[in-house]
């Protein structure tokens, strides 16, 4: 029997699900391979028919941000043999996790006139804060190529292998002149996990860490220290590490250290 795939959405922008559609629908010539490997059983955004669980692989987009979300992710965990988070929202809480530092009431009144209507949690949590996750695929958004290799690995019952190095390595591979060294631009490439192809430095700008912290113990303190010694503003560095993966432990700790919130 072919593996049965389910795709779920929590608080997110749909960008990662769009990459799933892209990979599945790049179809025909290539879809060939993937679509023949599996059955899409639950994917609200793409089809109306819903096949009953349990499923072999569940892909989860988005962060957990309401009481109902917590119930839902627990049910999903029970339905899926392998649970894979896709993207920065599901893996680290996403950009919306900035609220984790602030007062939710302040956020609510900034957007909605009558906050009482909105049923929401004070925090935007990574999926792994509530259930066990079998694999975390990073990126804001995830890379379609990495997604395809993760799905096919689970389909054949193998653990996916993804690069364990940083964006820096991708810059060297594509021959990009280092923006930090040559132009003095504070760049998170040295501490960010590879996967995007090093596209930001190739466009003469900094990496802002959308693939999350490198898996090999990134040394943020020494990196930001280097930028500070070369004239970078501390507040600005704090903002740099506080974006799409702000709540990832390595980035969070460094943000709090830079802003003086840390113990």
């Amino acid at each position: 029997m072919r593996p049965r795939l389910a795709v779920y959405k929590f608080a997110s922008c749909d960008g990662c699900q769009l990459q799933v559609i892209d990979v599945l629908g790049r179809a025909r010539p290539h879809l060939g391979e993937l679509a023949e490997l599996l059955d899409i059983e639950h994917f609200l955004e793409a089809r109306s028919r819903i096949g009953a669980g349990p499923y072999d692989v569940g892909l989860v987009e988005g962060s957990v941000s309401t009481p109902h979300d917590i119930e839902r992710i627990k049910e999903i965990r029970q339905q899926c043999r392998f649970l894979v988070t896709i993207g920065a929202c599901a893996t680290a809480g996403g950009i919306q996790a900035l609220r984790n530092w602030g007062q939710i009431d302040d956020f609510l009144s900034a957007v909605y006139a009558t906050p009482a209507y909105i049923d929401t949690l004070a925090t935007s949590d990574p999926v792994a804060a509530h259930v066990k996750v079998d694999f975390e695929l990073r990126g804001c958004p995830i890379d379609p190529g990495q997604l395809a290799s993760v799905i096919s690995a689970f389909c054949v019952g193998r653990k996916p292998r993804l690069p364990g190095y940083s964006v820096c390595v991708e810059c060297k591979e594509r021959g990009t002149v280092c923006v930090a060294v040559a132009k003095g631009i504070p760049c998170l490439g040295p501490v960010t996990q590879a996967g995007c192809g090093g596209i930001c430095p190739a466009h003469d700008r900094e990496c802002f860490g959308c693939y999350g912290p490198d898996r090999q113990e990134p040394n943020l303190v020494s990196l930001t220290g280097f930028y500070e010694r070369h004239g970078a503003n501390r507040d600005s560095l704090g903002r740099l590490v506080q974006s799409f993966n702000a709540w990832a432990p390595e980035f969070r700790t460094e943000h709090d250290r830079l802003s003086g919130d840390a113990p």
């Binding site: 959405k9 929590f10 608080a11 997110s12 922008c13 749909d14 960008g15 990662c16 769009l18 990459q19 559609i21 892209d22 599945l24 629908g25 790049r26 179809a27 025909r28 679509a35 899409i40 609200l44 955004e45 793409a46 089809r47 109306s48 028919r49 819903i50 941000s65 309401t66 979300d69 996403g94 950009i95 919306q96 900035l98 609220r99 302040d106 956020f107 609510l108 900034a110 957007v111 909605y112 006139a113 009558t114 209507y117 909105i118 929401t120 935007s124 804001c140 958004p141 995007c196 596209i199 930001c200 190739a202 466009h203 003469d204 700008r205 802002f208 959308c210 600005s236 903002r239 974006s243």
Partner: protein, 444 residues
Amino acid sequence: MSDVRKLTVAALTRVEGEGALRVRVVDGKVEIAEFNIYEPPRFFERLVKGREIREVPDIVARICGICPVAYQMSACHALEKALGIRVTPEIDALRRLLYCGEWLQSHALHMHLLDAPDFLGCESGFTMPPEHAPFLERGLRMKTIGNQLISVIGGRAVHPINVTVGGFYKAPSGADVRGMLPDLEWGLAAAEATVAQVSRFEFPQFSAPHEYVSLHADDDACREYPMNHGRVVAVAGGHTTLDIPVADYATHFVERQVPQSTALHCLIEPGSRPYCCGPLARMATSRHQLPPRAAAAAAACGIDWPTDNPFHGIVARGIELVAAFEEAVRLARGYRQELSVPRVEYRPQPGAGCHATEAPRGLLYHRYRIGDDGLIAEAVIVPPTSQSQARVEEDLKAYLPTVLDRDDAEATRRCEHLIRTYDPCISCATHFLRIERHSPGRPS
């Protein structure tokens, strides 16, 4: 004894985001028709407070993975107005080319994978029977070309990294941009074939007079089918009901929160009128600005524009596919990397500015205030879905009586189709649709 019928779609499928439908009919009269959005709020207006000007385009892109360019464009223009800078004509042309890429991928996705299955009697684009394979494959290839165009200019297809206030971080190479031409020319012919095909679909007989709102660019400053520029214009029944500069937007449009939704409903004043934006609205206000081949496709499709039948949305989207390919061909031919200074520099300074652009789903308004510290002090963002939402509910009320003779499953499916034809970008929710019939006095 009155007959009460409830239709509930706890989770709409084939829509982007989470939404539900709730309908209550008493003695054949529609009492409640609600299109609820329960996408958990992410508070973007608050998230950009205290951030640097240059961070805004990257952050607001994450509001929507399907139209990130629209969010980047509205933000950049609004912030440039706040800073008092103007980009060069070359940057402006490159922005329009990038926007074409977004219309292409978004429209091709919605038409082929989300909307067409309703007309073809399938439950998903992925499971269309083989006889529709050529239609689907052509659509997916058009979508891929849109993605590639965004990648060439923006660095990647979802959440481009090359867009910044003042222009672009790096000018794309002339060879890369012109290298898109064979695909774009193929796409232009493919889109024409698609329009011919979707205009032969069988459309539900339904019409509801609409007030349509979009940008309109028809003066000496700019004359084009609207994307990045124009005045805000409303038309209803062949008459112009509003014609204002974007700067006056806030005095004519109000947002109201409704209990069942996390999105705000947007209405035109005076009279709190619901309205509709997106492809049908642009066709209503600006069809005379369509480039020649798109205009020819619009004239040949057998629909009198403007139309009051929302199910014609798929044809309007197809005509805009033709227009976007046609414009992309023109702009890619004219692109010269050497002419393009990638960006206009600025110095952060206090100020305020607003701007609207045409996202694939319609008018997208942004307003920002920059504080004395050069950081964002305040942001207001009005996305297209909340603007059309009140209109969708009005349509549901008008459409329901025409489907009540069907069984519950079919009536519900038809209501879902009506919602989908608007291409609401919410990220839909529960997937079961339930109709309950009961009379008062009996347990429901």
